[in-house]
Assembly symmetry: C3
Homo-oligomer: 208 residues x 3
């Protein structure tokens, strides 16, 4: 475990890469299930892992998009795609760890997206929207590419966990908490709300 | 009626908010009909009301997108989503007023989008494309999110009304009309062409 | 044949317009097949021909997007849409020339997109992604608008030809080849790989 980050910036980077890998895996697995070829698997992995961040960067005006500046993103999504392609049977069996990793990715992308929006001077409501968009945007594009209604619109508490996480980042920023504290609280809240909602099968009300 | 705008800029702002609310309503209603939960209703309301403007701002390079700078947009879409969620039965019964409001939204978004494109120095053909994209882009994203072929591609004269409205804005700009005159003529033309096409059931020809 | 380009920049421009026309044709033909009206035909032609370039320009930050600055793009897509609308029967019969033109469009868009990404200072992996996105992005949006799974995800070697073409542009740039030589090699490679894959019915492996 010598790679464990020793400072805050590199902790964020590792969290971002974890989210990228896990979301890439979700895209690759969907492509395998829809019987796409190797190229399709890599495309869906890349879309799922990076589209949320690219849309965020295009909307706030940070260009070229972060994923085009740091080659690590593309390397990690390629790895995720190849993992899904060659080990999809193994991964199917490990649905619980995958769900946990996905909840972790949801948390890291929410926190990273919201913090970036605040740095770019957006007001709280817009920062919250951008944070949630960063976290769920990749999954939306992934599902649209195979013409499915995005899972985030069909699922139990998924985006709601991201909204709460984004809200905590904004609260921490407002109250002047240290970045490390804000990140930890928001990340853990998003993670546990998502995991609990799956375990307890919580749902949001529908129109009466 | 004391809130009625007394100057041109605030008239434009009120028109923009009206369009945002009405398009938000259309997104929320579609979500209710597709039995999405409260979160899905708010997402579809937001997408329908803001996606056209966000795509416009990303394409012309006005970033952060307008909807991220003025919190009113998000507040209005939230209200539209909640209205659709709680009063969808009432709204279903009022299909004619909703159609009229939708035609008004089409007009305001077309005019606002075309004028912004001209201010950014685009040539007339590009300004027309951007104006129409502003007006119909939200509806396209709304329909794609629930995997329907966008209504603007299936409908009677909808985008055509927007094209004529955008053309009138460009004509007025070219002939040096006052902004208020240009706005009024283009807005009313878009509105009445749309409404008449629905009443008279006009259609565009298909390939022979 | 007096319009034949006499220098490199205008050769690139003619190649770009050829790609725009051919991709516009593909969008218009799909719209006719799906029985859309004249407006839908022009929209799908425009989306297929320009969306790849617009997404590229939004991601790398070249705004307003190229297609909004040079009116030729919109004129050419309009022509392509009208051609598809009035001559779709004729074009259906000429499926082989259309396939050859489509492969040419794939080559020109790949080369133009990759070179632009390199000029904007992107690293090689990102330039490759942007080149492929420029070439296949329009087709993806075209197919999503009529809720079909994008052909690039279902097809034989299509994007792979673009990846190889983009790789050759990056290699030529790295080795200091003249732009004309790099363009020719990458364009011909993309074209012939695509054409051969169709003739020989080559496929990429699926997950075991």
């Amino acid at each position: 475990m010598t790679w464990i980050a020793t400072d805050y910036a590199s902790l964020l980077w590792w969290l971002d890469m974890t989210g990228t890998y896990v979301f890439g895996l979700s895209g690759g697995m969907l492509a395998v299930r829809r019987q796409l070829d190797l190229f399709g698997v890599i495309v869906l992995a890349t879309a799922a892992a990076t589209a949320g961040g690219v849309i965020r960067d295009m909307a706030i005006g940070d260009q070229p998009a972060a994923m085009l500046r740091d080659p690590s993103y593309l390397l990690v999504t390629l790895l995720a795609g190849l993992t899904a392609f060659f080990f999809h049977r193994l991964i199917e069996c490990a649905s619980k760890p995958v769900m946990l990793l996905d909840a972790l990715g949801l948390g890291t992308f929410t926190v990273a997206g919201t913090q970036k929006a605040l740095i770019f001077g957006l007001h709280p409501a817009a920062a919250c929207v951008i944070g949630v968009l960063t976290a769920v945007g990749g999954g939306v594009i992934r599902d649209l590419l195979v013409t499915e209604i995005p899972r985030v619109l069909r699922e139990e508490i998924y985006a709601v966990a991201a909204i709460i996480g984004a809200g905590l980042v904004i609260l921490g920023d407002h109250l002047g908490w240290s970045p490390l504290l804000t990140t930890s609280i928001a990340l853990l809240a998003t993670f546990f709300i998502r995991v609990l909602s799956v375990r307890l099968n919580l749902r949001i009300p529908r129109a009466p």
